[in-house]
Each structure stands twice: as C-alpha cells, then as structure tokens.
Symmetry: C2
Subunit: 329 residues, 2 copies
C-alpha cells in the first residue's frame, strides 16, 4: 500500500504538501493540488489513520459497553449513539462484556491505551471502581443505568416515578392484587422500580404480598417464562403484574398462555422498555417507553463534549406509558 512518501515522490512535491491537500489545511496552488490528487488516484492511496491518530493523539473511537446484544432494549440507544458519533466524525466500538470481568478490563484498558477516546457504559455490572477510577482521567458517561455516589455523569429516566405511575395505572384499572417481576436489585434501576411499585401500593393501602414479588435470574424471554412459573405456585394469584422489563413480561405472558390463563382478562401485565417486539405479542404489551434513541444520541454528545474538555451535567429524560391490550381487561 502506498504511503504519503510515495505520493509525494510521484507528484514531485514534499510530503508536507501532500498532507496539505489531504487536510485542506492551507493554500495549495491549483496545479500542485491537481498533481497530488492525480498521484493519489494513480497509487490508489489512502492515508493511514494510525499515523494520523498517533500524531494527533486521538483515535476518534468511542467505546460502548453493553452487557449483551441480545437485549433488544439497547437497539435504539445504539442507533442514537451511532448517529451523533458519525455526525461528529467519531466511530463507535460496541463492546459486549457478557458480565465477564476480564473483558471489561480489556475494554477499559483500550481507553487508557489510547485506542479509544471515551466510554459510554450501559453495562450495569461493570466493575464500578475501575470505571470510577478511569473516569477521573478519561471521559466516561453512563447511559440508562447509573450508580449513586460516583461522579460519573449519566443520562437516565426517573425509574422510581415511572414505576410508580405504571402501578398506579394498574390500580386505577381496578386491580388490587398486584405482583412484581423484578431483577437483581444490585442494578439501581431494579431497586428504583421496586420502590416505585411499593410506593403506589402503599399510597392505596394495598397489601404487598411476598409471594407475588418474584426475582428473575436474567433478562431473557426464558427468564420471564421461569419467573412466572414460580409466581403461579402461590395459592392466591394476583390479577395484575408489573414486570421490570418487556422481555420478562413477554416470557411471562407465554407461560400464562401455557397454563390457559387469559391476558388481560384473568391477569393484566405491564412491561418496561417498549422494545420492538412488545407491540407484536398477542395481546400487545402495555409498557413504559423510554426515549431510547434520544438517550443514546445525547449520551454520545456528552462523552464527546467531555473529550473536548467541556464539563457536562447529568440528564433526566421523560418517559411515557404506552397502553396496549395486555392491561385492557
């Protein structure tokens, strides 16, 4: 592959001049420019980003940490991140950590190694201390899940209130026996949504039955199936369920169908996230929609701002309750 030297020689100019026409950085005569461009074409030359980035000490690469691609919740966030990044001449490196500490370390080190300029983490299980440490010297932003008591900037919704509203809606629909399908509360959003759930029940002086609060081991459809299976073991059965994520809610509906239990007639279900599938289930799923694309877009803006030395503030976004068939009993 030709390099800048080859082009310079072929065009009969210095490498500085080639660099100038490449970057349009100062005046070059029409004739010289023409010659250089001709040489570039003839040699099929493309400038090495490695050389350029080393010289400029930037990589224009953003790391996006994510637990797994399999969760469709992330799809639109990533689209948002990608759009803002491309608009600003950055590329993104999607890093799936699989909850694997070693992988997390690799990716975190890529920033220290100058292979990436900043990190957007959507990976709640990441080793928090390492990220906090990194954040002191490098741009880091948290998207959609965050940690309390760190100084890492984040963008998220008010999970507590969103859950509170969702459950309140179930109550207003006439439900008094309401269950919760939750996930591990080491995730802040899980904890917050549980608090919102309890707040609504307390406000209406409804009982919080422990058999109706089930914790899932994961966030796949199958986890939803299994969690609902456990829930159905209790003698008495709730008439409505708030599931902390759409994938769990959809799995839960599948299991209810398997038991011949009608949704929403016998049990109403509300999910969280408004993933693409959620409108395709039968019945279509009522859910809480987060502005995922915007969250991605703005989180990309946040890291890039930080890369460029600006300071950024935390952002709380709005959410929306999307009412579909699964609660219209």
């Amino acid at each position: 592959m030709a390099n800048i030297q080859d082009v310079a020689k072929q065009a009969g100019v210095s490498i500085a001049t080639v660099s100038r026409v490449l970057n349009n950085t100062s005046k070059v005569s029409e004739k010289t420019r023409y010659n250089v461009e001709k040489a570039i074409r003839e040699l099929n030359y493309a400038p090495s980003m490695l050389g350029r980035n080393l010289r400029n000490s930037e990589s224009r690469l953003l790391l996006v940490l994510i637990h797994t691609f399999s969760n469709p919740y992330y799809t639109e966030i990533i689209n948002g991140i990608e759009d803002y990044s491309i608009e600003n001449n950055y590329n993104i490196l999607l890093c799936e950590t699989d909850n694997n500490q070693q992988r997390e370390d690799i990716f975190i080190n890529m920033v220290r190694n100058k292979l990436a300029d900043g990190i957007i983490s959507m990976n709640p299980t990441v080793h928090v201390n390492k990220l906090k440490e990194l954040s002191k010297s490098h741009p880091v932003v948290l998207c959609s899940d965050y940690y309390e008591d760190t100084n890492i900037p984040y963008i998220a919704i008010d999970n507590t209130t969103a859950a509170y509203r969702a459950v309140k809606y179930l109550i207003n629909m006439g439900n008094t026996k309401i269950g919760l399908i939750n996930f591990n509360e080491k995730l802040l959003y899980a904890k917050q949504r549980r608090i919102g759930f309890e707040k609504a029940l307390n406000e209406y002086q409804l009982p919080i039955c422990h058999e109706w609060i089930q914790h899932s081991d994961g966030l796949t459809f199958q986890d939803g199936v299994e969690t609902m299976r456990r829930m159905l073991r209790s003698k008495d059965r709730p008439t409505a369920i708030f599931a902390i994520s759409d994938t769990l809610a959809i799995g839960a509906i599948k299991e209810l169908h398997a038991h011949g239990i009608k949704v929403p007639e016998e049990m109403a279900i509300i999910g969280f996230d408004n993933i693409a599938f959620s409108s395709m289930t039968t019945p279509a799923l009522t859910t809480v929609s987060q502005p995922t694309y915007q969250m991605g877009y703005r989180s990309a803006k946040m890291v890039i701002d930080r890369i460029q030395g600006a300071s950024v503030d935390n952002v709380i976004m709005d959410y929306e309750l999307i009412i579909r068939e699964s609660t219209l009993g």
Copy 2:
C-alpha cells in the same frame, strides 16, 4: 498520561528495555524487570496501542458490516464473531450502514486506512463493486449473504434447499394452497428461497398463485403486518405461508390475529431464522434455524486466516427445521 519514556526514566533503563518487559520478547534480568514493573505501577502507565500498531502496521480490529442492529437475526452471529475475535486478540467494530452508501464508504475506507485489518460483511446491500475491489488487496469475508461471480469468500447455508424442505414440509402437512412472503430479490438469499419454494410446489404439481406471492418492503415486524394485509386482499386465501424471515412471519401472524384468522387452524405459517422471539409468540413459530453462532465464529476465523496470509475456502453450513405450533394445524 505517562509514556514509555517516562517509565524508562523512572526505572533508570532505556525504552528498549521497557518494551522488552512489556512484550516479554527477550531476556531481561530479574532485577531490571522488577524495577520496570514498579515504575509502570507508580506511573499508572498503559502502553499506547496507537504507537504499537503503527509500528507493527496492524490494528487488530475487525470491521463487521451490518445493515441494522434492529434485526435480531444478527445477534448470535455477532456473538460468534466476537468470541473468536477476542480469543485471537482482535476486537470488532460493529458498523451499521443503514443502507447508506456514504457510511459504507467510510467503513470500507477504514480498512484501506489501516484502521482495521479486515471486514466481515453481512450487509447484502453494500456496494458490491467497492467490496470486490477491496477484497483484492484486503481480507474480506461474507457471512450469511453473498454474491455470485465474485471471488470474495463466504459462509452461508444452502438457502434453496432449506426453503424447498420447509415448503415440502407444509405440503406434507396437507397444504395445497401455499403462499410466499418474500423480500427484495436483489438479495441473493431472497431469490434462492423463492426458487426453493417454487421447486417444492412444482414437484408436487401445485399451483403457484401470484396473488399469494407478496414482496415486503423491509424486514421489520411492521413490514410483515403490511405484507400480510396485502395478501389478505385476494379473494381466495392460501392455507399456509412460507415467510422468508421470522420478523415478517411474526408480523404476519399479528395481522392474521387482527382479522380473527386462527393460526395454524386456518392458516399455517413457517418462518426463517429462528430468532429468540420466535418461540415466544402465540402460537410459537415453526422456522428454519441457521447455525448463526457457528457462522459468526467461523467467518471470524476466515478473515483472521486471510489476514495472516492463508487462503480460505467457502463454507456451506447445515440448517434445521424447527417445528413449533404455527404449522401444527
């Protein structure tokens, strides 16, 4: 951020020695190694990949071209690519092209620019000539969709036979009026699956009714809904449908439900891809499963082999018919 010079100075050695302990590349005395490692720790040093890569003229980055993250078909392929890559010390850059030629160009140029060492393309709409051109000088591999008459190595399944088998299964279940939900045939796999479909019908001397062959504009759930809506306009209705992808099949089922048409009793449906969601629908979807993880894993092996100068052969993988409820009428 400290660099190799700082470490050398702090440890009282030359930068060459620091590089040696970093890469374990030749003998270093116990004492020197200790001093260097101490300095590294004290300075919180991490080697710059930019410098290293420039020097080694490699980036250890793989580009994965994909039309959109939104299609869950890709999830497991990406997991496979990622696993093999990480095992072999490569990272992957997921590039969403959105059918945007400009974006495709950017990504293709990244390889020419030495920012990436190779490309795995799963993006059927990519500008074929550019990719073919690139493939002459750089490692490129096609995964799951490919082009005829190019010399770019690929890994895929035998789409024609897979479709043939799927439709034959519908026939054996007693269906004689079979429809097709297809996608744009500029995609080779769409064409191949249509050919397989026709082959089965011809073999059993069943009619190919043009009103029962509908082409979708896209591959989202909503596209499936709309395509089925069009299909239902015909006076006579097929008793079974072969849909070229699960997302389309699932959208189609949704539309059938909306019309009160029972699946599979009144219409059987078979999809293609076995995406995670396909077992969660009601009824669960019968589909053709591709070994997506393996396809990803092996395509990563193929590019990396090419990067290392080996020549690689095309690979045809096996598929499997997964029978679920949507055809058990």
